[in-house]
Subunit: 122 residues, 2 copies
DNA sequence: GATAAATGCAACTAAAAAGTTGCGTTTTGT
DNA sequence: ACAAAACGCAACTTTTTAGTTGCATTTATC
C-alpha cells in the first residue's frame, strides 16, 4: 500500500470523491438565478422557458443559458412538446451532492468525537 | 394574502429560500480545487496554507485565493498561530446547504407521490 | 543578528461567465 | 394563408474568476 502523506495527516479526499462532475453540480447550484430555477422545478412541474423566464429579471436567452448550465450538470432535463421546450428536475445529481455534504458533516463529527475523547483521556 | 402566480403553479422558492448567501456556499464548493480543500479539512485538522498547497498543482497564492472564497462563503475559518495561518472547516454553512438539497429532494418526492395518486385515480 | 520559512499585498494576464441584441426557424391558431 | 407565440443560433460587450509573478513583512531558528 502507498505510504501516507507526510504533510497532511487525515486526507479524506478518497472518502469525499471530489470529482469534477460533482463540482459541476455545485457550481450549477452556485448562482441565485439557477438556484431559484431549481426551487421552482422541484415542485414537479415541467415548465417552458417562457414560463421560467417570467420569474426572473433577465432575458429569455439568459434563462436559456442558465438552463444549459444546469443541464450539463445533470440537474435538469428537457422534453420537447410541440413548439415548447419543457424543463423538469432530475434529482439524481442533487441527491449525490446531498450525500457528499452528508459525508463531510459525518467526517467532521467523527473528528470532533476523537478530539473530545483525547481531551478527556487521563 | 397575495394572489398566486398565474404562470407558475407550484413555486416552492419560498420553501427553498434560494438566498444569495446559500448560492455563495454552493459556488464555493463548485470548484474541484476548493472541493478537495474541503475534503481535506473535514477530517478535523487545522492546516497551514503551505500544507494545503502541497496537495494541489497551483501556487500558494492560488490556494490562498481559493481559501478566501471559501471563507467568504463561511465554509472555512482561519486561526493565526505564530507565523502560520491555520485553516479549519466550519460545518454550519455546509449543513445549511445539505438541508436545502434535502428539501429539494423531499419536494420532488411529494410531487411524484401526487402524480402517482392522480394516475391511479379511477 | 543573520537566515530561512510562512505569509501578505499588489499588479498583471488570460480565460470563463453573464447577459444582451438581432435575426431566423418552427409551430400554433384563426 | 398569415400572424403571433416559442424558441434557436450567433455575435458581441462587460464582468468575474483563476492563476501567476514579484516583492515586502513577520516569525522562528541557529
Amino acid at each position: 500500500m502507498p505510504a501516507p502523506s507526510p504533510l497532511v495527516a487525515h486526507d479524506r479526499s478518497d472518502v469525499i470523491h471530489a470529482s469534477d462532475t460533482l463540482a459541476r453540480v455545485f457550481a450549477a447550484l452556485g448562482d441565485p438565478i439557477r438556484l431559484k430555477l431549481v426551487a421552482v422545478l422541484c415542485a414537479g412541474g415541467a415548465l417552458s422557458i417562457a414560463q421560467l423566464t417570467a420569474n426572473t429579471d433577465i432575458s429569455r436567452q439568459g434563462v436559456t443559458k442558465h438552463l444549459q448550465v444546469l443541464a450539463e450538470a445533470g440537474v435538469v432535463r428537457d422534453v420537447k412538446m410541440g413548439r415548447e421546450r419543457l424543463w423538469q428536475l432530475d434529482p439524481a445529481q442533487i441527491e449525490g451532492a446531498r450525500q457528499t455534504l452528508d459525508v463531510i458533516g459525518h467526517e467532521w463529527g467523527i473528528a470532533l468525537q476523537k478530539l473530545k475523547l483525547f481531551a478527556e483521556s487521563p
